[in-house]
């Protein structure tokens, strides 16, 4: 009851800061209906749908959560706003698309709302999500509801049995995968897999391949970037480093399920938590899915670790791989260059600038409500939500995780892996330049899918991606794209 009252107070406070005055006290958004677009769940849509009735009771605003497949989300948002259809008032989407939504003025800037919203506890949101994911061109456009880093998950019981350590490099990853491939890992009498990675086209594969590539491509810190040359905007994929990353990515398939090319994260997560895989690459979701007693067969048997790194990195002058030393890999740990990938950036809420003012207020109040610690601290511990920790307090408070059913050791391991990624000075930022979706979701995704299907060789894939990216850059304007790329890396010259 106490918690309910505090939620009510928080929402009323957030709403009150918008200047609606005393009317807020009795259902401040009575009669207001907000259409929120996000992707077909259950992840992400589930917490929005679950909490919408509570929010309606508190404020009177009716929240309609409309879902579309992830591959359609970008296009649905952009066409709805560009054609001024404006059938959606708010969105929960990928903040890496902000360049395409913020620049033409489709999204409402939330800077002043956030500044006035104490219930949101903005400063509690980790700086990366607060200052990078939520911002574009110096203005705040989104409210984060999720934090995203890709990590490697492993089975602690299996590694302990085999006397193995969690993978530090991608070669370690392949060795561990080979050690457990085709062995029964969950006691059901059928052979299982050394590695399960979502490699389906038009799904999440293009982030997975970059999780492998990051360590080969970026070694001089976050501002170096991993996608393009900072002087010429030439793609870094046309190098030995990316070819080597592709070799590793293809090699993981040797230890994967036979139809891995048709697996998205739903399949790989399900396989991992039912004990069918020794290793997987994923966002933070596995940690919480593994403690769901209804589905998990690997409770307290899951470890997470920062993305494996490499002993050799790209020399950008020559395009060749060079060994790690103090100069080439200044942030290396034990001689290994780790480059944790902040893939996607974490689901975030934004508001259509063309929505009616009262609907905008209601939409903001709902997004704030979802992100406030009272809701968020619960949601990030539930696997089905797809929300992963993004607030400093969520990393510090073990109680949240113990209450959710995680053992102390598992919680420390899980949060430690995320914190190691988040605090890495060599963190790889996702691409945020205009039309990044075409670079990644079209050219990169298609070329990688063809390579995995053995339609092309590694050299052909490298050429295809390089030429495809160059064509987009030339089409959109090299100088404009280079400027945007430098800005997203916060490179001052």
């Amino acid at each position: 009851m106490k918690r309910r009252l505090s939620l009510r107070m928080a929402v009323l406070w957030a709403a009150g800061t918008l200047g609606a005055g005393p009317a807020w006290a009795a259902g401040p958004f009575e009669g207001v209906s907000v259409n929120i677009l996000t992707f077909t769940g259950p992840q992400i849509a589930e917490p929005l749908q679950r909490r919408a009735p509570d929010f309606e009771k508190l404020t009177g605003a009716k929240i309609n959560v409309i879902t579309v497949p992830f591959s359609d989300l970008y296009q649905k948002m952009l066409t709805d706003m560009a054609t001024r259809t404006n059938s959606y008032h708010a969105f929960v989407f990928a903040p890496q698309w902000l360049a395409d939504f913020a620049t033409p003025g489709y999204l409402e800037a939330l800077t002043s709302r956030v500044a006035a919203d104490k219930a949101l506890q903005w400063q509690d949101i980790a700086p990366f999500f607060r200052n990078f994911s939520a911002m574009y061109a110096g203005r705040n456009y989104t409210v984060p509801v999720d934090g995203d880093f890709q990590m490697v998950y492993y089975r602690t019981d299996l590694l302990a049995q085999g006397g193995l350590r969690p993978p530090e490099t991608w070669d370690d990853y392949l060795k561990i995968a080979a050690a457990f491939d085709k062995k029964d890992l969950n006691g059901d009498g059928t052979p299982d897999f050394g590695s399960c990675i979502a490699k389906k086209r038009n799904a999440q594969s293009y982030w997975m391949v970059w999780s492998v590539a990051g360590g080969f491509l970026q070694s001089q810190g976050t501002k170096q970037g991993s996608f393009f040359d900072l002087e010429t905007m030439k793609p870094l994929v046309g190098s030995d480093a990316f070819a080597e990353a592709l070799r590793v990515y293809v090699a993981t398939g040797k230890y994967g399920p036979p139809d891995e090319l048709n697996w998205d994260v739903g399949d790989s997560r399900s396989a991992f938590v039912t004990g069918r895989c020794a290793l997987t690459v994923d966002w933070g979701d596995i940690g919480t899915l593994a403690i769901d007693p209804k589905t998990s067969k690997v409770m307290d048997k899951v470890g997470a670790v920062i993305l494996p790194g490499t002993h050799r990195v790209l020399d950008r002058k020559t395009g060749k791989l060079v060994p790690c030393d103090k100069t080439t890999c200044p942030y290396a740990v034990n001689g290994v260059n780790h480059a944790p990938f902040a893939a996607f950036g974490g689901w975030s809420g934004g508001i259509n600038a063309a929505a009616p003012p009262r609907v905008k207020d209601a939409a903001y109040a709902f997004l704030s409500y979802m992100s406030q610690p009272a809701q968020s601290n619960v949601d990030v511990t539930i696997g089905i939500t797809g929300f992963n920790p993004y607030r400093t307090s969520q990393f510090k408070s073990l109680d949240l995780w113990l209450k959710a059913g995680m053992s102390r050791a598992a919680a420390q391991n899980y949060l430690g892996a995320i914190a190691a990624s988040l605090n890495s000075p060599n963190m790889v930022l996702d691409l945020r330049i205009p039309q990044n979706q075409r670079y990644q979701q079209v050219v990169l995704d298609t070329a990688v899918a063809k390579l995995l299907a053995r339609q092309t060789t590694i050299d052909q894939a490298v050429t295809e991606i390089s030429e495809g990216w160059e064509a987009i850059t030339n089409e959109l304007g090299r100088d404009k794209q280079l400027k945007a790329y430098r800005e997203t890396l916060n490179v001052e010259r």
């Binding site: 036979p258 048709n262 299907a453």
Partner: protein, 391 residues
Amino acid sequence: MTNGRPRAAPAVGARASPSGSVPTGPPRALTARLEQQAKLLFLWPAVLMLVFLSIFPLFVSLYLSLTRLEFVPGGFALRWVGLANYRKLLFGIEREHFLGLLAGPSPVQRVALGVIAIGLVVFLARSLRRPERPLAGLLGRSLWAAAVGAVAWLLARTLLPGGRPGTLVTTLTYVGVGVAVQYGLGLGLAVLCAQQIAGRRFFRVVFLLPMMITPVGIAYTFRILMDLGKGPFAPVWRGLGLAEVSWASDPWGARIAVMIGDVWQWTPFMFVVLLAALESQPPELLEAATVDGADRWQTFWRITWPQIAPVTATLVLIRIIEAFKIVDLPNVLTSGGPGTATESLTLHAFIAWRTLDIGGSAAVAYLLLLVVTLAVLAYLRLVRRRLTEPT
């Protein structure tokens, strides 16, 4: 009034009738004019609907195929790029995606292409010997031969070792193989169900069921059925020692899976139309053939086939046009993968559209329109002579 022509209306201002009464209705000339206008009045709404719903979008999409979509503050703009979208597909970075990877011709390919080229030259030479309109005939045949030659060249260069089919060849495969198998199965089932066998009504209903299901539903059904790890047949695969085999990872395995789904869905359409055609045959002819001692094959080939040939021609034409537009199955079943192996032209256009490459999407759609038109013209040319020539 015996010649069937309408009675002429009296002129405006005609005198009153001998009884002195004045006609109370509108003048006859006005009525006639209204009657004439009525045709247009009834016709124009349909024409306008057609113009707005079909012709207008056709021209707009043609314009879109020559532009590039750009987002600008407050909305969007279409920048004129000429033929750039078509160049990208035919000669640029999308060529492999659209046409496929062209293998260097092997000796076998050279021989095959040579034989086809000789055949086409002979075909053209014969048109010169035709007494009526030799030049017009030559022009038409030249276009036809060029289209057939181009398709043969593309198939030879992309399907044989070293090559890789693009979305165009994949679509042609779906159309050619799919429609042929659907027709063969549909005809076989129709012939069976036309017999006086027990439970024929039941089988007719069962065979029709797949046609009633939405294509996306069928695609999801096949996706579940073909899931080797979790699908209902997973124990069977494991029992057979085929658990490590994956159709989804093999380009031709995935294409065959798509074609199986398509055949399953559309065979009933062939079946129901062919069954109607078979049952509408005059029984006297069949009885006469039996009396004359014809066996089953002779009866089918000499009596039944000529009678169902016109229906077959129309049926196959409809399916060819429809099959070119296949999108649901590869999209849901494989997402166009592995790689781009199962991507049809329509899915190619859809994926481009989904990523807001509106111009590129429209260009694919227009090239598809061109291919469908050529294929239909070639098909019509092929069947028209067979159907009209006396046997």
